[in-house]
Symmetry: C2
Subunit: 204 residues, 2 copies
C-alpha cells in the first residue's frame, strides 16, 4: 500500500471512482467534495480527507478538475498498471468471477483458472482456460502472476495458499471461509460471503 491509509478510506475510493465515472461530465468540469458527498450521502469532510490520500488537488471553492480526480483515483488504485491474476477453484463462484467484467476497471486481467476436477480441466469459462492444478507452478511462472484468488472449499484452502506462496504469489484474495496461515506481512484479504450474510441476518 502506498501510504498509511485507513482501510475504510481505501474501501471508499472505488466508490468515488465509480460515481465519478457514472457522471457523463466533461473532463474539464469541476466537481466539489460537497457535491460528491451529497450524491453519495456521506460527510463532506470525510470525502475530502479520503481524496487527500490520492494525488488529487482540490481548489478552493471550485473543487477538483473531473479528469484529474478520476486519474488520481485510478492511479492510486493501480487501475493503470495492467496486472494479471489467476483463480484457483473453478466451481460456481470461481466461474462467476471469471465471467465478471468488473475487474477490468481496475486493470486486472483474470487470465486463467486452475482446478483439480478432470471434468473442468481443459474447458473455457467466459473465454478463460481452466488448467489442472498440477500446472499451477508452471502456469503462474509463465503468466508472471503475482495475484491469486482462492475459490476452493474451506478444507483445501490452506494447501492451495501454501502452494501459491511457494510459487511466489505475493497477494491472495481468499473466498474460503478460513483464516489462512501466511508469512508475516503477506498480503491477504478475506471475503466470506456466507458469514457476511449471517452477520447481517443476526440483526434482522
Amino acid at each position: 500500500m502506498k501510504r498509511e491509509i485507513p482501510v475504510m478510506s481505501l474501501q471508499r475510493l472505488p466508490i468515488y471512482l465509480n460515481y465519478l465515472k457514472s457522471l457523463s461530465m466533461d473532463g474539464t468540469s469541476y466537481i466539489s467534495s460537497g457535491a460528491i458527498a451529497r450524491a453519495l450521502n456521506m460527510g463532506e469532510v470525510l470525502v475530502r480527507k479520503d481524496l487527500a490520500y490520492t494525488s488529487a488537488q482540490g481548489r478552493t471553492r471550485v473543487g477538483y478538475v473531473m479528469s484529474e480526480l478520476i486519474e488520481a483515483l485510478e492511479d492510486y488504485l493501480g487501475c493503470n498498471d495492467k496486472k494479471t491474476a489467476v483463480i484457483v477453484g473453478a466451481g460456481e463462484l470461481g466461474k462467476a468471477l471469471l465471467a465478471y467484467g468488473g475487474f477490468e476497471n481496475y486493470g486486472i486481467d483474470l487470465a486463467a483458472a486452475f482446478d483439480n476436477d478432470p471434468a473442468k480441466i481443459g474447458t473455457l469459462v467466459a473465454g478463460k482456460p481452466v488448467y489442472s492444478v498440477d500446472e499451477l507452478a508452471s502456469g503462474v511462472k509463465k503468466l508472471g502472476v503475482k495475484l491469486a484468488v482462492i475459490c476452493v472449499p474451506a478444507e483445501r484452502a490452506q494447501e492451495v495458499a501454501d502452494l501459491l506462496i511457494s510459487c511466489n504469489i505475493t497477494a491472495i484474495l481468499n473466498f474460503a471461509p478460513v483464516l489462512l496461515r501466511v508469512p508475516e506481512g503477506f498480503n491477504v484479504r478475506d471475503i466470506d460471503v456466507a458469514a457476511n450474510l449471517a452477520i447481517l441476518s443476526s440483526g434482522v
Copy 2:
C-alpha cells in the same frame, strides 16, 4: 446486533465456528482458547476476548466444552434461527450464490431469485426458482423475507434497494459496486469483489 461487538471480532466468529466444526472431536471434549489461537495463528487474548461476546463460558486451565462453544457461536450468529433470503439479479454471481451451500451453515435459506431477463424468469438455478422482478413485492411478502442480496449491475442497484426497502426488507447484502442510499439505521453490508482485488493488487 446483540451487543456492542467490534466488527472485526464479529467477522472472526464464523472462523472459530468453522475451525471447531472441522475438528472431529467428541462434543464433551475441552478445547482451550490457546489451542484455538495456535491453530488459527492468532493471539490467545484476542481469541478469548472474541469468544467472551458469546454465551460460552471457558473454565480455567481446561477451556471450553466443545459442544457448548459450538452452540454458543451458532446461537450468537443466529445459525439456529431459520431465515429466508432472496437474491435480486440472477446473473453469474447471483447464480453462484444460489448454488453455494455455505449459507445453510448459518440457518439461511436462499429461497428464490428475481430478475428482469425474460430468458431467466421461470428457470431454476440449483433448484431455486427465478421469478420476474415485477413479482418482487408479492414474493417477499409471501415468503416472509426480511433479508435480500443485491447482485444487479451498479446502475440498477439503487432502484432495487429502494424497491426492497418499500417491501419491508430490513437488511441488504450488496454486491453492486455502489454506496446505497438507505434510511438511517438500515442494515447494509457491501461486498465489492473487484475493489477488494484492486486494493490487494495496488500493493503488489
